[in-house]
Symmetry: C2
């Protein structure tokens, strides 16, 4: 799974000039997504520089067997094929996009990214959200149990729960402030009205590739073969609704009004140069149970950033404010492989195009916190913005943008693109 091959060579340069090293989408990346032009149908494309390459349009240059999948408005069928096909496509696209001999044929199938609309790349059968960000779990736990923030199961069980598939939307979708029941501690009874503690959560998402059959767990050694790729994920959260509703069955209406994802499926192949070992566990931490034990570089050095732009900041033309910066590998107590194996360990069947969130990824530093709940200490410490405004939670007009990328000395930068959403008032 970890092989670096010719397609990772940092000296490869595409004839698409905007795909130069340093862009989000050099020829070493090649993430797939679903796009449409005005009045056009949804279809698969691959990001290269500032462009999308229409995979239908170049089907004469690709394996004939793939045509059916690339004619679909979602990528589920393609992802079901698994890694060998992904890798063969990657290899072929590198040829087509670097060799000048193909330029005349391929270039007409490039469309500017600014001219298209992107869509959720798969029909999401199930969306599951995990909670593997240990610093986030600790920060949130401290607000309830200062001396004992992590529950006893945390270092044995990759904690997860099911989310809502129908409200997964692509980056750019407005965030309609949800109504709900909220009950301040001092109030006698709850009220129903717009959430006053609307928050974002910085997460990574995994797109499931090959599935497993009901009743057949996925051994840890095979888990990565079931992961087609990665995206950014914003698990928008209404903290007041959450606090009142979540006992005893977990978050529900506090979360299911919207989940935003970035449009591109960044493959594990593209991320191969950024593999790294899982963080060293503390001496007191238990060994994972045998079904979750794995070796090798199963974490990824992915850089994360969250910015906020208010209405006022946009009007004044000032740059968005950086709320946090951090690294995914330092935040995740459990790897993507462990997440997948645990999810299927009871026989639960994963399907191509399922979406799995990691949970909020905060680092152990104040500059790397993945939610306003953490940054504002549960709303007690307002954040002062350069615009002179302050925030505890999100106000109408606020736009949150998540970004991710990988960088290393001997590899070309790989970008995830963006996942953004602007808060609008209750409908």
């Amino acid at each position: 799974m970890t092989d670096i091959d010719d397609t990772h060579d940092p000296s490869l340069v595409s004839w698409v000039e905007s795909a130069a090293p340093g862009s989000d989408f050099p020829v070493q990346n090649l993430p797939l997504g679903i796009f449409s032009e005005a009045k056009g149908r949804r279809r698969p494309g691959v990001a290269i520089g500032d462009y999308i390459l229409d995979l239908n349009g170049i089907s004469d240059f690709l394996d004939e067997g793939w045509r059916g999948d690339f004619a679909q408005p979602v990528l589920n069928g393609w992802l079901a094929r698994g890694h060998d096909s992904q890798r063969a496509l990657r290899k072929r696209l590198v040829e087509l996009l670097t060799d000048q001999r193909y330029r005349n044929d391929i270039e007409p199938q490039l469309i500017g990214q600014s001219e298209v609309r992107m869509h959720v790349p798969c029909l999401v059968g199930d969306y599951t959200d995990f909670y593997v960000g240990i610093h986030h779990a600790t920060n949130v736990g401290k607000q309830f149990r200062p001396d004992n923030p992590l529950l006893p199961n945390y270092k044995y069980v990759p904690i997860g729960y099911h989310g809502r598939a129908s409200s997964v939307r692509v980056s750019g979708e407005d965030v309609i402030r949800p109504n709900g029941q909220r009950k301040p501690p001092e109030a006698e009874a709850p009220e129903y009205g717009p959430s006053r503690r609307l928050d974002y959560e910085l997460e990574l998402g995994l797109w499931v590739g090959r599935g497993n059959r009901l009743g057949e767990p996925i051994p840890i050694g095979e888990a990565e073969q079931h992961i087609a790729g990665w995206c950014l994920l914003n698990d928008w959260s209404a903290r007041d609704i959450q606090a009142w509703e979540y006992q005893p069955l977990g978050p529900f209406l506090a979360k299911n009004f919207l989940t935003s994802v970035s449009p591109w499926i960044v493959t594990s192949d593209a991320l191969a140069p950024f593999r790294t070992p899982m963080p060293q566990r503390a001496a007191a931490d238990p060994e994972p149970l045998p079904y979750l034990r794995s070796e090798g570089d199963t974490a990824f050095e992915i850089q994360l950033e969250v910015t906020l732009a208010t209405d006022k900041m946009r009007q004044e033309g000032s740059a968005p404010h950086v709320l946090s910066r951090g690294t995914a590998s330092a935040a995740m107590y459990w790897s993507a492989a462990q997440i997948v194996t645990h999810h299927a360990s009871n026989g639960c069947n994963l399907q191509p195009g399922d979406l799995i969130g990691t949970g909020t990824l905060s680092t152990d530093s104040d500059s790397g916190l993945g939610s306003l709940l953490e940054i504002s200490r549960g709303g007690k410490q307002p954040i002062e913005l350069p615009s002179g405004e302050s925030r505890t939670f999100l106000e109408d007009g606020d736009e949150v943008t998540l970004r991710a990328w990988c960088e290393a000395q001997d590899a070309v930068r790989i970008g995830f693109g963006e996942c953004s959403g602007r808060v609008v008032g209750t409908a």
Copy 2:
């Protein structure tokens, strides 16, 4: 919504003799499902007596506009049409199945139910499970908090959480005993292995008909228009996995290995004669918040029964043992309409073919408990079976069958059919 019309007339009798009053499927019922014959394709049919009427086969006798939906292998498209179409179909089917003049044309399209295989009737986009069975919530709460079993939110919030759509299966599917992490209180660390506390949960399911758009709540007065019909639902549960994993985000692997549903969508129209007011609330109970307030007969007098058959009982040819009997209307603190309105109250979009479980429906009597967790008092009081065996939780070979029906003096019995599953050892 509550109209009784000619199609409910108890004197209506079908020319299909096995549909005589007293059967599960008289002409006043007419639930839809998806079936297939050996090597045949999946298609919609309607239950009448011991038969299925092939809706494709009689399309010349139905509205031309429906043909596209009845040619599908799932009922999502049909359910999206809403109640007017459902009612028009019901009216037409009553004509076709009672008037002898149609018999020669219609009879060849009847297929014995014993000759077909039934399927999950919809592609389930999302499956949500609620917790509106107040006696169940009280019984379970007592095992943790004897003096204060219900949490403070219970009588304000119809508590629910998202379940797994991919593992929803039709009645008859084997229950593969799940593996998982379980940690007895006295053990220092958890172990991974087959669940030792495998349980069933007696629930009703709602099939969503017309959906709502993201961001647009469903007013309580319109909620029933979004419910296409009802089924039985068994929310199989591994109590040992649940106890260890569920904090803080709710049940996950303890539930998502399988959810069984009965194959027939029993329409709200068929249930109209069995409407009844919601149970009287106690004087100390709060009024529902305004968005959840409704009047009229919003509960349904549905009879429920659970039976257990062990391997030994089957070998000896003895009848299944009745584990519980009760009435849904007495068990539900929140109505189906309140469930739907609450689910969409934050703007969450429901879609045609979504499945919503009520939660376990126990009555306030020991003879009407909806799970072994309750009957065996958390495993402390074994149940003695007539076969000489005893049970706290399910053993391999045990088959659990849920049944439901409505009966009243001035109405014909309406049956739901069965929802059954047999436990088999871990794969």
